[in-house]
């Protein structure tokens, strides 16, 4: 994969200086930059190797990197998958306030934007918060089910940190850990896990009763291995009680942080889990869709970030028994970390994910 020439080459016969054209592309923070084809090629190689080093996974193949190069070295404003290779899209938090009520926004997502599915959500996107306003959310879900034909699921975050002081009743492990109170920090997390499971099951069952097509646990693991364990236990409980419930688990990052360090699920330690191990745990718990997330490095190019993300997730694809819907959005899956993601970057990253990974959805 070595570049044939650098950006500046002097022709031997003519002495003419050949300049490799610079191609507009994006950085991980969304800013527009220009890179030569050789530089993009180099970034793709570095990106996959970065994932190999951190994730202990195989690199992308030469063919895959060549295909990514074609995508990212294009100057087109927009790109897409081939006809027939389309995937479905599931969403975390659908709708925008300019479109009226929350259900109006879901309806617009169906009728105007052509979404395959959508998600009713509360602005305080936390199962603990929703628990206090559940009846109102149930009413909105009922209305949504009467107005929409596409699936409407309900989503929020496990958000384990919400259970720690001062917001919650448990000890604050973020303060206990630096104070070297390890046992107390672990005990606080274990206590929070049980509370979070109870709340997640309560809310999910309430929204299912209101007619939801499924439940989404978003950013599982965001507060570390305790957060992930709470999610898995909630999924397990819900699956046992509701065999037909659609359950999505979307992760927070490519590695579960060991805030507790000793928590296990199914005999496997959760701390340090990467996408393949995360998927196995989510499948075992009984979810119907798994959504890996690989965070973006805002100092590197979109090409670098996408190659890295694909390398992390690729091992999941052959082993998955449930659909894999990779998180490809603001700050994950290669898409720049910016509130209004530029469509040139979003389409390149999305197409790269589908073409290389043969994902079941995004």
């Amino acid at each position: 994969m070595a570049a044939e020439a650098g950006p500046l080459t002097i022709g031997k016969q003519t002495g003419v200086i050949l300049v490799e054209p610079r191609i507009p592309t994006r950085m991980g923070d969304g800013s527009l930059t220009e890179m030569t084809r050789s530089e993009i090629e180099s970034d793709l190689e570095e990106g996959t190797q970065a994932a190999v080093a951190r994730g202990k996974v195989p690199p992308l193949t030469e063919d895959e990197l060549d295909h990514l190069l074609d995508i990212f070295a294009s100057t087109a404003r927009f790109t897409g998958v081939d006809i027939g290779d389309e995937v479905v899209i599931t969403k975390d938090g659908t709708g925008t306030p300019q479109l009226g009520s929350r259900v109006d926004a879901l309806y617009a997502a169906e009728q105007v934007l052509g979404h395959d599915s959508c998600e009713l959500f509360h602005n305080d996107y936390s199962y603990r918060a929703v628990k206090t306003v559940l009846p109102m959310e149930q009413q909105y879900m009922k209305e949504a089910q009467e107005r929409l034909t596409i699936p409407v699921h309900y989503g929020a975050q496990p958000d384990l940190g919400r259970y720690s002081a001062p917001d919650g009743p448990c000890g604050n492990w973020s303060e206990l850990l630096p104070a070297m109170k390890i046992d107390e920090a672990r005990a606080a997390q274990e206590e929070a896990v049980e509370m979070a499971v109870e709340d997640m099951v309560f809310v999910a069952e309430g929204m299912w009763e209101a007619g939801a097509d499924g439940i989404n646990f978003d950013t599982a693991g965001a507060a570390g291995d305790g957060d992930f364990l709470a999610t898995l236990k909630a999924v397990e409980a819900l699956r046992a009680g509701h065999p037909d419930m659609g359950i999505m688990v979307g992760m927070a990052g490519e590695m579960v942080i060991g805030t507790h360090g000793q928590l296990e699920y199914g005999g496997q330690r959760l701390a340090g889990m990467r996408p393949l191990a995360q998927m196995r745990a989510v499948q075992t718990a009984g979810a119907t869709i798994y959504g890996p997330a690989v965070n973006v490095n805002t100092s590197r190019s979109t090409a670098w970030n996408t190659a890295r993300a694909l390398t992390f997730v690729k091992p999941c694809m052959d082993e998955a028994k449930i659909p894999v819907h990779m998180n490809v959005g603001m700050g994950v899956g290669g898409v720049p970390m910016y509130g209004f993601s530029p469509v040139d970057a979003v389409t390149r990253c999305s197409r790269a994910c589908v073409d290389i990974l043969r994902l079941d959805g995004l």
Partner: protein, 98 residues
Amino acid sequence: MNGLRAAGDLVVRLQMSKGMRLKEAKAVAADKLGVTTRDLSDPLAMHELRGRLRLGRLFETETTYFRDPSPLEAKWHISETLGIPINSVIKLRAGLGI
């Protein structure tokens, strides 16, 4: 997959309720609808079919379908056509006692 414009909502329902991978979900949807998997993402092919099977479809100012089913009726037909349970339909049937 274009959602209600084509068959994206149908394929994602098979994934969500049955845990089907994409290839299987597309194959099952195509089989149940009597089309090819390529047709599933073709808005022209699916718009007419969805109208005939009363699975719900888009409308706009100059193309209205007041005889088309309500969303709940459409989901009823989707449930019957795909052979999958749809929660809101189950609730409706329970409320109607059927």
